[in-house]
Structure formats: C-alpha cells, structure tokens
C-alpha cells in the first residue's frame, strides 16, 4: 500500500471510528506532538546511538500516575503502527514508555529502514481523546 492509500485509510478510520474508541482523558484540540529530531528521511550511522527529541505544544508533560489537566507522558513507537486508542499502550521493544516525564531519549537501531512515531498516554498509559500522536518519520541506519 502506498503512502497516500495509507492516509486515505487512516482518514476513513478516523471518520467512521466509534467516538467511544478513545481514552477517558481529554486532550486540548490544538495539542501538537512532533519528533524534533531526527528528521523524516534522515540517514544515521550504524552502531551509534542517536538522540530522539520529543516536541510538544499546547500540552504539558507529567509522569505516569500523575493526574493533571492537559498533560500526559511520551511513548516512542518504533517500527509499528499506532495501537488501539482505547486501551493502555503496550510496553515492549516497539513501544517505549517515558513514565518519568522524560522529553528525549537515546536509541540504537540495527541497519535498515525504521519508523519512529510519538504517542501521548494519560496517567494510566491510555491515549487521550482525541489521541495525541506525531507524524511518523522514517529513518535509515547504515
């Protein structure tokens, strides 16, 4: 499936999704989550950890289990799609949790193409309503 098709499917899913399929915590409608580094299409050297910057506007960061309006904590999705929006974000090698309120991290990936995407979770690791996620970037390690 090419990129445009993906976007169409994503749009259709968003349009027809049951509104109940979202977490119980509200997010500001202008919340903006983005990967500040690396850039989409970036080529990075193999065998060397690189830093990933978590960018967030119109919303704040709070560690897990802290309930504070308009906040959440970062999750970095590696080589995977967004998980269901109404359940806790999985915790495994493809879903890194930053429950201490971290706003950047170091990652080392094997050679090849990889995707990175950010997703905010609420105090219980559940995506917000509406979900706050970044654009997915593709990087190449070689």
């Amino acid at each position: 499936m090419d990129k445009r098709m993906y976007q169409l499917v994503a749009a259709a899913v968003l349009l027809f999704a049951d509104p109940a399929l979202a977490g119980p915590t509200e997010a500001p409608h202008d919340a903006y989550l983005y990967i500040g580094w690396p850039n989409d299409g970036q080529v990075l050297p193999a065998g060397k950890p690189f830093r990933v910057w978590f960018g967030l506007r119109n919303m704040g960061v709070a560690p897990k289990d802290v309930k504070f309006p308009n906040t959440g904590h970062h999750h970095l999705l590696i080589d995977t799609e967004l998980p269901p929006a109404d359940e806790g974000i999985p915790s495994d090698r493809k879903h890194l949790h930053f429950g201490s309120g971290e706003t950047e991290t170091m990652v080392e990936l094997p050679p090849g193409r990889h995707t990175l995407q950010l997703l905010m979770g609420d105090d219980k690791h559940i995506p917000h309503n509406p979900p706050v996620s970044s654009r997915k970037v593709t990087i190449t390690i070689r």
Binding site: R57, A62, P63, V66, S100, G101, T103, E104
Partner: protein, 140 residues
C-alpha cells in the same frame, strides 16, 4: 538555671529543625537543562519565537507534585538566576507549571538573554541547581 535549660532546649530544637526546613529537593548529578532552540546568537526577525526546552537525565512534572528526579521549567528572560531562592513569577521569570516543554515568546527589538531554570514542586531550585547556559538573541 531553669532559664538556661529552656534556652539550651530552644537552641537544640532550632538547630535540629533548621536543616530540614532548608533541605532542597535533590537533583540527579548528571541532570542537564539546555535550550534546544533558538541557538546562542540567533537573530529573530519579528521577535516571535518558540523556545524549546531540553532536559537530560531528569523528567518533567507539573508543579505541586513531589516525585523524585523531576521538576518543571522556568524561562528567565533578561535577568540573572538566584540559585538559593524560590523562583519569582513575573515578566522576567516565566513559569511552566503545567509541564510545558516549549514556550511561545514575543520580544521587543533589541538584545535579549534567555536561560532555563528548573524548579521543584514548590518552585524552589534543586540541589545542585539545574539550569541551562544563558544565551543571547537579537530581535532586529
């Protein structure tokens, strides 16, 4: 005699209480706050900018929440930092008590300094204090 004992007791009490009252929230020794953007020396046409606040080896947490190894950002504009006092809240000391990691600024023409300073749940600096290098930007 009785008076001396009272004095002694008072002195002991105040001595033992004093360190607890002034103990600052500890920060991890490798914690580092830094301004991701703008770079030092940047020229910002129009004076409107987003400041991206970076933090390493420590986490961001809204004010009022007392957890280990966290704090919230303060941005000091055109002022010096005072590492021993509660961070003031005024036009030169912007507080980001809701856990924000970016700040929208509108600055008048001229030279301006920016510096980040992390505060604990009570807006007090940590021990050791966590702050960024001070940078200078110019609005033409």
């Amino acid at each position: 005699m009785f008076r001396e004992i009272t004095f002694a007791a008072l002195a002991t009490a105040s001595l033992s209480v004093a360190p607890a009252a002034t103990a600052a929230t500890p920060s991890p020794p490798n914690a580092e706050a830094y301004i991701i953007w703008p770079p030092d020396g940047a020229v910002i046409a129009g004076g409107k900018l987003w400041v991206r606040m970076g933090l390493r080896n420590m986490g961001v947490c809204p004010k009022g929440v007392d957890l280990p190894n966290v704090g919230h950002h303060h941005l000091l504009i055109d002022t010096e930092l005072a590492p021993d006092a509660q961070i003031p809240s005024d036009r030169n000391h912007l507080h980001f008590g809701a856990g924000e990691t970016e700040a929208r600024l509108e600055l008048p023409p001229g030279k301006h300094t920016l510096q980040m300073f992390l505060g604990d749940h009570d807006h007090m600096p940590h021990d050791p204090p966590v702050h960024s290098r001070k940078i200078t930007i110019t609005v033409p």
